[in-house]
C-alpha cells in the first residue's frame, strides 16, 4: 500500500506545484477533446434531431447505425483515421498525421455519432404532439421544432457531457494518430501510459487524478440533470 500512498502524495505535490509538464498536457487534452466535442455537437445534434423526427424508408437501419456510434471502439476509429491521414491515404496531403488536428479528427469521429445517438433518444422522448400544440397556438414549423429541442435540452446537455467524458478518457485513437509526441501531441491518457511504463508513478498518478476529476465532474453534471425529473406536487383540490 505504501507505493500508493507515496505516489498519491507526490502526485498532489506535483499538481500543487503547478508543474508545467503536467499542466501543458492537461490543457492540450481539454483543447483537443473540447474542440472535438464542439464539432461533434455541430454535426451530431442536427443529425440526431432529423433522425428522431423524420420518417423515411431506411430509417430503421440509419438509426441502428447511429446507435452503434455509442459503442464505436476508439482503436478502430484510430485505425481508420490513421490510414486516411497517412501519406498513401486519401487525405494524406493534409499532413495532419501526428498533429493535434489528427487527434481532433479522430475524436470528432467518436463524438459525433455519440452525440447524434443521444440526441436521437432525447428528441424522441418528447411527445410528438408537443409540436402540434405549438403550431395550434400559432407557431411556425421551425418555432415548433426549436421548442421541441428546448424541451429536450436537459438530455442534450447530458449528451454533451457524456460525449466529452468519453473522448477525453480514450487512449486508443489518440495515441495512434497523434503519436504521443512530447510538447505536441501528448495528452493525459497517452502520457499516463508512457509515465507508467517509465516507472514514473507519481506523474502518472497526478495525471490520473486529474482525469478522474474531469470524468467525475462530467458525470456529476449528467446525474444532476437526470435527477431533475418533473416533481409532482400533491394535487390541490380544484
Amino acid at each position: 500500500m505504501d507505493v500508493f500512498v507515496d505516489a498519491i502524495r507526490q502526485a498532489i505535490q506535483l499538481l500543487l506545484s503547478g508543474d508545467p509538464y503536467l499542466w501543458q498536457i492537461v490543457s492540450r487534452s481539454l483543447q483537443v477533446s473540447g474542440l472535438a466535442v464542439l464539432l461533434g455537437l455541430l454535426a451530431g445534434i442536427p443529425l440526431g434531431t432529423w433522425l428522431g423526427l423524420a420518417r423515411f424508408p431506411c430509417r430503421g437501419i440509419a438509426v441502428a447505425l447511429v446507435n452503434t456510434g455509442l459503442a464505436l471502439p476508439p482503436v478502430v476509429v484510430g485505425l481508420f483515421v490513421y490510414v486516411t491521414l497517412s501519406r498513401q491515404g486519401p487525405l494524406g496531403s493534409l499532413g495532419w498525421l501526428y498533429t493535434p488536428s489528427a487527434m481532433v479528427s479522430a475524436q470528432f469521429v467518436l463524438a459525433a455519432p455519440y452525440v447524434a445517438a443521444i440526441t436521437l433518444a432525447a428528441v424522441q422522448s418528447v411527445p410528438p404532439d408537443l409540436r402540434l400544440q405549438a403550431r395550434a397556438l400559432g407557431a411556425s414549423r421551425w418555432q415548433a421544432l426549436l421548442l421541441h429541442l428546448r424541451e429536450a435540452r436537459l438530455s442534450l446537455m447530458a449528451a454533451v457531457a457524456a460525449g466529452f467524458g468519453a473522448v477525453i478518457s480514450e487512449v486508443g485513437a489518440v495515441i495512434m494518430v497523434g503519436g504521443n509526441v512530447h510538447g505536441e501531441t501528448r495528452v493525459i491518457t497517452t502520457a499516463i501510459v508512457l509515465e507508467t511504463r517509465r516507472g514514473q508513478f507519481a506523474t502518472a498518478m497526478a495525471l490520473g487524478l486529474i482525469l478522474l476529476a474531469i470524468a467525475f465532474t462530467a458525470n456529476a453534471f449528467i446525474t444532476r440533470v437526470q435527477q431533475a425529473q418533473p416533481r409532482r406536487r400533491r394535487p390541490l383540490a380544484s
Binding site: 497517412s86 501519406r87 498525421l97 501526428y98 495515441i175 503519436g179 504521443n180 509526441v181 512530447h182 510538447g183 505536441e184 501528448r186 497517452t190 502520457a191 501510459v193 508512457l194 511504463r197 517509465r198 516507472g199
Partner: protein, 225 residues
C-alpha cells in the same frame, strides 16, 4: 520458447515483452523471475543495487540510424555515428526519439552525448512509444531515428526508410540474461539462464532470421569473453 519448454517441460514460462528499462523495474519490484535485457548501464545499476542473482551475456545485435531515402537525406551518411548525428542536428532534420526510457532510448542518449550534441529543438521529437510505432512515425514524417536492426528489417517493406549509418562498433547492442535474486521461482529462473547460454539455444539464436532476411539478426556470444 517452444524449445525451452521441450527441454524443460516442468516449467511454465510467462513472457512479458517490455523495454529493458521497464523490464528491470518490474524485476526490481519482484514481478519477474528472470530478465533478458539490452541496457548495460541499467543492468549494472540493477546488479549493484542487489536485485540480481547472476548476469551473463547471451547475444548481441546492432542498432542502425535510419532515415528517409533520397539525395538530400544521404548528405549526412557517414561511417561513424557521432559525425552523422552532428550533421543531422546542424541541418535541422527531424529526428524521432523513443522518449520512453527503454534500452534503445538509453543507447540513443549515450550516442548524442558522445557526439557532443544536446538534442533539443523543433527538430527533435520525443515520441514516448514503442519501436514499431516510432519507425512508422519516422516513415510518415520523413524523419530519422535510431532502431535495432531486427525491428527495422521486419518492417522494412512497409517503411520508406533506409539505413543512414551502420556498423559503427558503438552501435552494438548487447543482450544479457539476469536471474532475480529474490525470485519466487529461482529454480526455473536459473534453468532458463543456463539453457539460453548453452550450445543448443545459442545455435538457435544464430539461425534466427536467416530464412526470412537472409542473414541472422543476432550473434550469440554467451561463450565469448
Amino acid at each position: 520458447m517452444p524449445a525451452f519448454r521441450e527441454a524443460h517441460p516442468e516449467y511454465r514460462v510467462r513472457v512479458i515483452a517490455v523495454g529493458s528499462g521497464e523490464a528491470l523495474r518490474l524485476a526490481a519490484r519482484g514481478d519477474a523471475d528472470v530478465v533478458l535485457s539490452h541496457s548495460p548501464r541499467a543492468e549494472e545499476e540493477f546488479m549493484a543495487a542487489g536485485y540480481g542473482g547472476a548476469r551473463r551475456q547471451v547475444m548481441f545485435n546492432d542498432f542502425l540510424i535510419v532515415g528517409p531515402s533520397g539525395d538530400e537525406a544521404s548528405r549526412c551518411r557517414r561511417l561513424d555515428v557521432a559525425s552523422a548525428l552532428t550533421c543531422l542536428a546542424e541541418s535541422g532534420a527531424l529526428f524521432i526519439s523513443r522518449g520512453d526510457d527503454s534500452g534503445t532510448h538509453a543507447k540513443e542518449r549515450l550516442l548524442w552525448t558522445a557526439a557532443g550534441v544536446e538534442p533539443e529543438g523543433d527538430w527533435y521529437l520525443e515520441a514516448g512509444q514503442g519501436m514499431g510505432a516510432v519507425l512508422m512515425m519516422a516513415s510518415e514524417k520523413g524523419a530519422y531515428t535510431l532502431s535495432d536492426r531486427g525491428t527495422y528489417l521486419s518492417m522494412r517493406e512497409r517503411l520508406r526508410l533506409e539505413v543512414l549509418v551502420e556498423g559503427d562498433p558503438v552501435l552494438r547492442n548487447q543482450y544479457a540474461v539476469i536471474t532475480v535474486r529474490d525470485a519466487s521461482n529461482l529454480e526455473g529462473a536459473r534453468a532458463f539462464a543456463e539453457w539460453i547460454a548453452a550450445p543448443n539455444a545459442q545455435a538457435l539464436i544464430g539461425e534466427f532470421g536467416v530464412e526470412r532476411f537472409g542473414r541472422p539478426l543476432f550473434s550469440p556470444n554467451a561463450a565469448a569473453r
